[in-house]
């Protein structure tokens, strides 16, 4: 029986599911570090060979596990930074979290040849299949899953509109700074190059995009701290973005 006794008021709504592979990522696989690239003073990208990686959609994440000699394990969820078509490799971009036992290992101990374990890809909620216009709003390392979308868009030569608004405190803290193209607008909250305004993401950044949306409208993806996610999602709603087309991934 299906009783529709729980109407969802139109002004609140959770977005629908994105179809992802039904293959359950139940198995832990060994991943070997093949390269390390510094992105900012606090963030670096770790390239991993995962020979049996089943592929992913941009925006998905994985679970990563480290094991100490006495059997103690620590596991964390990390977003995939790389585009799906990467021949058995994936990339993760990690902040060096103060006191973080996993990110601390990556930033101070890890070197090429080291092995860790991964399980994924996971979750279909924050995924972008490349089939709909995407408006991406990220702050700090919240740009990581969004960059997977930008890279996928480029690698496949997709023509569907995609725009990225990325917030960082200062230019030197902007992850992937050299990779951005015309699709990206950086927003600097504490310090900016000459001639670039300093300030938070604002209604003025969104107005031109939402005043003239592409056919079918934008699917909005917001990723960052909870305070950024609250701020950005409220701006989107105020600018007219349908609430059931705002997907949010918050750190934690």
């Amino acid at each position: 029986m299906t009783e529709t006794t729980f109407p969802s008021p139109a002004r609140f709504a959770v977005p629908g599911r994105i179809a992802v592979s039904e293959q359950v990522a139940a198995r832990w696989q060994t991943a070997t570090i093949t390269g390390i690239r510094r992105e900012t003073p606090r963030a670096a990208t770790f390239r991993l060979a995962v020979p049996e990686w089943a592929g992913h959609l941009p925006g998905q994440h994985l679970m990563l596990r480290l094991t100490a000699a006495d059997g103690y394990t620590a596991q964390r969820h990390y977003s995939l930074a790389s585009a799906p078509d990467d021949s058995g490799h994936i990339e993760l971009t990690l902040d060096h979290v103060s006191g973080g036992e996993v990110s601390g290992w990556f930033h101070t101990v890890a070197r090429p040849g080291d092995r860790v374990e991964v399980r994924g890809p996971l979750s279909g909620f924050f995924a972008w299949p490349g089939d709909r216009p995407a408006l991406l709003l990220g702050a700090g390392s919240g740009v990581v899953p969004l960059m997977s979308m930008v890279r996928h868009h480029r690698a496949r030569g997709l023509t569907v509109p995609l725009r990225l608004l990325v917030s960082a405190r200062r230019p030197e803290e902007l992850i992937y700074a050299r990779e951005y193209g015309a699709e990206t607008t950086p927003v600097f909250t504490r310090g900016a190059p000459e001639g670039t305004p300093v300030g938070r993401l604002s209604a003025a950044h969104l107005a031109p995009l939402l005043a003239d949306p592409p056919p079918g409208g934008w699917e909005a993806y917001v990723c960052g701290s909870n305070s950024f996610a609250e701020h950005a999602s409220k701006l989107l709603v105020a600018a007219g973005q349908p609430v059931d087309r705002i997907r949010i991934e918050r750190f934690g």
Binding site: M1, V24, Q75, E230, I248
Partner: protein, 201 residues
């Protein structure tokens, strides 16, 4: 065992009450909702119990507050890996609502609905017997919107995605029907002590 070269990890003062694969979040309480936080006032909040019950019923904010006050004091566990110790939620035992509606003998499962449309499925046995609450206070203060205020479900013996924020109601069923995260690859029950994070665990 695949030992990670050079990894020692945190000191092993294993905290009693920490399920496998979890860490102590300390004073943090991360917010992980996937949707826009709704602007839902207490006056607009309602809670309904329907489906396989003898008397489907909806409570307003005032009506719900007339039920006997109850609290949960203890720990909560999020599937993303953090656990939080010694929290205190104030509200009403879910038993008070279910007793009033009267589950039919055929009812075995429930889908908990949020006012946003978010859902989570639970076995009815996990919602009865003093193990689930509808709460509107955290640490003696009103529950904030980011954490599910004005009122949320709390089922602390399961991973916290089951503790639906902005709770709108329960629909009792004679079968299990996956909710929002459960359709996105997460485990149907989510017992942190058995590390039931994802489908197949």
């Amino acid at each position: 065992m695949n030992i990670t070269r050079g990894f020692t990890g945190r000191p092993r003062a294993a905290r009693e009450g920490l399920p496998p694969g979890q860490y102590d979040a300390g004073d943090d309480w991360p917010v992980l909702s996937a949707e826009v936080t709704p602007d839902l006032s207490a006056a607009d909040w309602t809670f309904r119990v329907g489906g396989l019950v003898t008397a489907p019923r909806t409570w307003s904010w005032e009506e719900a507050h007339r039920l006997p006050a109850a609290a949960y004091e203890g720990d909560i566990h999020c599937v993303t890996g953090w656990s939080k110790f010694g929290v205190r939620f104030g509200g009403v035992s879910l038993d008070a609502f279910l007793d009033a509606a009267g589950p039919l003998p055929s009812a075995t499962h429930a889908v908990a609905h949020a006012h946003t449309g978010y859902t989570a499925n639970l076995p009815l046995a996990d919602l009865t017997g003093g193990r689930a609450w509808i709460v509107w206070e955290y640490g003696g203060r009103p529950l904030t919107p980011e954490h599910g205020g004005p009122a949320r479900l709390v089922v602390p013996h399961l991973y916290f995605w089951k503790s639906v924020k902005w709770i709108a109601g329960l629909e009792l069923l004679d079968h299990d029907e996956p909710g929002f995260w459960e359709r996105n690859g997460y485990h149907a029950r989510g017992n942190p002590w058995q590390e039931q994070r994802y489908s197949g665990d």
